[in-house]
Symmetry: C2
Subunit: 221 residues, 2 copies
């Protein structure tokens, strides 16, 4: 907890000090800090939603997507882009345009993470496959499984999710229920949305952000 | 933990936003933030020293005083004065002069807190007397007792500190060993130091900070 407090303090300190030491950016400090401030409150809210969600028997797809948005998409992609853009003097149109790219991209990034957490190759991802299942995490993948499977599947999910012995059965159910395909469909749709929004920002944005965007979602680890 | 993170974020947010909204103070933001940054790192360091200290069988008077300085004196008195002074454009001499007042005053404040935690009237302090003893906190009061008592007293301290049944015996030992008188002596000495430093800052500082200083140390709750 103390180390976390220290890191949280230092992130403020480093941004503010870097900007105050850069005469060309000082005038934009207020705008940039507004996005850092939002980012920190949002990630706390997302983590809170996640913690609360894990205490409930199930989470709807919409609820699980809201956690993904606040805990991952905003904090990982949207607000960092906003902070950089604000420091460079971006106006409200560019800020809004970056959100159009960043939110679907960040959501796709997290959904890819969820898929890799269940089906990834541990020798590539560097973390044991099935940890999310053993911990019983209520991810979008699980929410979709619960909707797409039948009563027998929901009983299996209820009984086996969060157990070590049930990992294989739950993984199999995610696939056979069509939830894996549905989430891959979500990822593809979100990638398309991000790409269209990126094109709308013009060729410079496309050239710089395009390759980064693909790294976030078309990865194996 | 999440609520603490949120409050820590908001303290940065509130200070920076208030200053950015006040044209007369903007130029001093960097200096003021430097003291807020120090304050946050120092209180984490102080809390860490305190947590580590509580895991050890005993703490020397010097070690306990270091916890008091980092966890209380700097965070409660010194850095808040520095932040305000920096916002008002104070130079290094005034900043150093405020430390001369604030550190002994903050230390006296915490020692008074330790004394009240053991000997205070619960109907006045609003918290049960002896909680620090029941929790086995390694305060300066306990460190002084350990030095001033004999082997039998140290054995009593070792066996009874941190227990509910031992509260009365430890309280009695703190008094009979002379530790209470020694800490009251520390408080008086620190008050004198703070007062001398306050006089050195001139009549305006004395008029404004003087009454506040007495409230911090000559209190019953």
């Amino acid at each position: 907890v103390l180390l976390g407090d220290l890191m949280l303090s230092w992130c403020d300190e480093m941004l503010t000090r870097a900007v105050l030491d850069s005469p060309s950016m000082v005038a934009n400090l207020g705008n940039a800090r507004r996005f850092l401030d939002l980012c920190k409150s949002e990630v706390v809210a997302g983590q809170f939603l996640d913690v609360v969600g894990q205490t409930r028997p199930s989470l709807s797809v919409d609820e699980a997507m809201k956690v993904v948005r606040y805990k991952s998409a905003k904090y990982t992609v949207e607000r960092p882009l906003h902070i950089g853009a604000a420091l460079a003097g971006a106006g409200p149109d560019l800020i809004a345009g970056l959100s159009e790219v960043a939110l679907p991209l960040g959501e796709a990034f997290q959904l890819r993470d969820d898929v890799l957490g269940v089906f990834g190759d541990p020798s590539v991802t560097g973390k044991p496959a099935g940890d999310d299942l053993r911990e019983g995490k209520r991810t979008v993948l699980i929410a979709r499984t619960s909707v797409l499977t039948d009563d027998a599947g929901r009983t299996l999910l209820h009984e086996q999710l969060g157990t070590t012995d049930g990992v294989d059965a739950v993984r199999e159910l995610i696939q056979s229920s069509g939830a894996l395909a549905a989430v891959e469909g979500d990822i593809a749709r979100l990638e398309d949305q991000a790409e269209a929004a990126l094109s709308a920002l013009g060729p410079a944005a496309r050239e710089i952000l395009g390759p980064l965007a693909l790294t976030a979602t078309r990865r194996t680890r």
